[in-house]
Amino acid sequence: MRLLTHNMLTSHVKGVNNGYPLKIEATEVNVESEVDFKPEFICCMIPRIDWDVLKKALAWIGKADLLPEEIVDNYEEDEEFLRKVHHTIMEIEIVTGSLICPESERSFPINKGIPNMLLNEDEV
């Protein structure tokens, strides 16, 4: 699971009012993947992602230092910054682990990089 996906996923267990963000418990993380860097795309994504949640996600996997606390000003011109963002949202992969609903503590498994968000019948 890439962190861009994590940034959008929310718990949808019945009765839960705020299921976002899902906490990450990772047992295997891969930082070696390579995805083509598209600066324009990253610029468009920055305003659409939840920066605090991205920071939290990095902290949960022990990589908090990969990004600065705040989004830099004029990030459109800061290639170094954009590359850092690109690496964190597009390339870091949670291979094995779980996503935990903040309210119900229901755990969703991540295997082979794929989060399984299926609910049981009684949770729908």
Binding site: L9, G19, S33, D36, G113, I114, N116, M117, L118
Partner: protein
């Protein structure tokens, strides 16, 4: 060779020439007594009488033929000189259209072979089995009384509450209240049933006398059609209503059309005070509808001519009987609750896809061009969600303008996607774990036809609308019940099956245990014959599993499908409050709809 025509007009003249030649007419500039008059046809809105006034001025007419469904007419003068005169003098001039549209420009062509316009006519289509018409079913006095009472009730309704869901026709319900969207009646709602008023029960008594009804109608829908209004093609819900549907027409004539899944079309002029009753195939197999037009073209077979008639205001009083849901169903899928539906889908949708994943993926590599076209039409850097992405054929991001995520109910299919595209997750289409109002676009291709009930199919579309940001758009595509449409058959049908329609009775059935409550229920549906026309809408479609392309199949798996009739997908989309249906079309055996989320 033709002075007086502008460059633009010459271009138009040539394009019509090509059409005439394509129809087998030897059209050209070699003078002859016979001419084709391009844009002078009834289908172009030109009144034949008015056109004749113009043509008569140039000489004595030997023969004048209006060709059904064509925008040209054919005229033979008694002399070549008359033909030459009109060819020269009226070429490229305008004539008024009788539907009030912009003028038609007439173009002339000499025709050099003796042609028989009668041979152009298609064979009269066979009347659908189960279609019954009674003309003058009520008297003019009874008609006036009904119209007055209906108008009073419509006035009352518009004062009491907001206009009905339907944006075009005005509608009233007597008896049970009809629910658009699921197209049925909520038997559990105590407010749902009101008494049938006297003016309608009078009609019902008369309808019972025709002996075409089992039981008595208890639901009545009144539709008021202003000129220009129509009703999209549909079959009345086979689960909610019984075997007969009757409709009484008041006020004005209208052309009523029926379409069979294998391509036949049947039209009929419904006159005021006539009663139309649909049973059997006319009720369950043929779809019916009314085109939204202000005029209709009627064919007078005695005079072998066609005429334009202008529609007036028409009211239709449609009678139905609500089905008792505890009784055995005669036609259509069994009534099941959510638990059963979930279980059937588990066994016969994602359960099967999990088993056939790699074989399936190898047959689904080619993307549908119109889906690709939809994706290309999105603004740069749009965020898209592919719900039910299967093996991921639309999940490319290399040379695309947009960024796409995928989700599917089948973990085996997502495993296959993940290799090429890591932005995927396993999820149910009815409950996607993402926030409201987020995505710029969604696609949902070949998914919704797998849900067992109309409610679940509607919920799937509502979920898509929830996920879209305001102004976002979605493309939904489903398998069509009609594998032939407008005379073209889909790539799915094999050559042998093109002209044969399998009967439901001749198909094998598959029984599925539904163990929702303590009571063991069994549902039984036919097994579809692959590459053939669909015999009914709900069935199991076999998949012969092969471990490799060269090996023989090892196992057969059955997937549940509900194929959509014309108008059905549009009806579902239109019933959702905060979304608008932008476009719908037929694409090689599928129905597709593009919707946007309202601002």
């Amino acid at each position: 060779m033709m002075e007086g025509l502008s460059k633009k007009q010459m271009k138009k003249w040539k394009s019509i020439l090509l059409k005439l030649l394509a129809d087998g007419l030897q059209a050209g500039t070699e003078p002859s007594k016979t001419l084709a008059v391009g844009n002078g046809g009834i289908h172009n809105g030109v009144c034949p009488t008015k056109l004749l006034e113009v043509l008569n001025a140039y000489g004595e007419i030997e023969k004048f033929s209006v060709i059904p469904k064509k925008s040209y007419v054919i005229i033979t003068y008694t002399s070549v000189e008359s033909a030459e005169s009109i060819f020269k003098n009226v070429q490229g001039t305008d004539i008024e259209k009788s539907d009030g549209g912009p003028n038609a420009t007439l173009y002339f062509y000499y025709l050099n072979t003796e042609i028989n316009p009668d041979s152009q006519q298609k064979a009269i289509h066979l009347k659908p089995q189960g279609l019954h018409i009674y003309e003058d079913f009520i008297t003019e006095k009874e008609e006036r009384l009904l119209i007055n009472t209906i108008e009073q009730d419509l006035m009352k309704q518009s004062k009491q509450c907001a206009q009905s869901v339907l944006k075009h026709r005005q509608v009233l319900h007597y008896g049970y209240k009809f629910q658009y969207g699921t197209n049925d009646v909520d038997l559990n709602d105590p407010m749902a049933k009101e008494d049938i008023p006297e003016h309608v029960s009078g009609v019902i008594e008369k309808v019972m006398e025709t002996e075409l009804w089992e039981g008595k109608p208890d639901q009545c829908t009144v539709n008021k059609y202003e000129p220009g209004h129509g009703i999209p093609f549909h079959v009345d819900n086979p689960d909610a209503f019984t075997t007969s549907i009757s409709s009484l027409s008041l006020g004005s004539s209208i052309v009523f059309e029926m379409r069979h899944p294998i391509g036949n079309v049947f039209t009929l002029l419904l006159k005021p005070r006539s009663l139309l009753t649909l049973t059997g195939e006319a009720r369950y197999t043929w779809t019916h509808g009314i085109k939204p037009k202000k005029t209709d073209i009627v064919h007078d077979s005695a005079a072998n001519s066609e005429a334009i008639i202008h529609r007036g205001v028409r009211w239709s009083l449609t009678l139905r009987k609500v089905k008792d849901k505890t009784s055995k169903t005669e036609s259509g899928p069994p009534m099941v609750d959510t638990q059963d539906a979930v279980e059937i889908e588990r066994r016969h949708v994602h359960g099967v896809y999990n088993k056939i994943a790699s074989h399936f993926a190898s047959t689904r590599e080619k993307p549908w061009p119109k889906v690709v076209e939809f994706l290309h039409s999105l603004s740069p850097h749009s965020l898209v969600l592919d719900i039910g992405c299967g093996s991921g054929r639309y999940l490319r991001t290399e040379d695309t303008n947009h960024f796409i995520f995928g989700c599917d109910r089948s973990s085996s299919l997502i495993d296959i996607c993940q290799e090429k595209h890591p932005f995927v997750f396993v999820s149910d289409g009815l409950n996607v774990p993402m926030k409201n109002d987020y995505f710029d676009a969604c696609i949902c291709i070949a998914v919704i036809h797998h849900y067992f009930t109309a409610e679940r199919r509607l919920s799937a579309i509502k979920e898509i609308v929830r996920l879209l940001r305001k102004g976002g758009k979605a493309l939904i595509q489903v398998w069509a019940a009609e594998q032939v449409y407008k005379n073209k058959h889909s790539a799915y049908l094999n050559k042998q099956s093109v002209n044969t329609n399998p009967l439901v009775e001749n198909l094998q059935t598959l029984k599925v245990d539904c163990t929702g409550d303590q009571e063991q229920k069994v549902c039984s549906l036919p097994i579809h014959k692959n590459r053939n026309h669909f015999a009914q809408q709900d069935m199991f479609v076999p998949w012969k599993l092969k471990n490799s392309p060269t090996q023989a199949p090892t196992n057969t798996h059955y997937r549940f499908y509900h194929v959509f009739k014309e108008g059905e997908l549009e009806q579902l989309c239109r019933s959702i409050d905060n979304c608008t249906l932008e476009k719908s079309y037929y694409d090689n055996g599928n129905w597709a709809a593009i919707i946007t989320k309202d601002l």
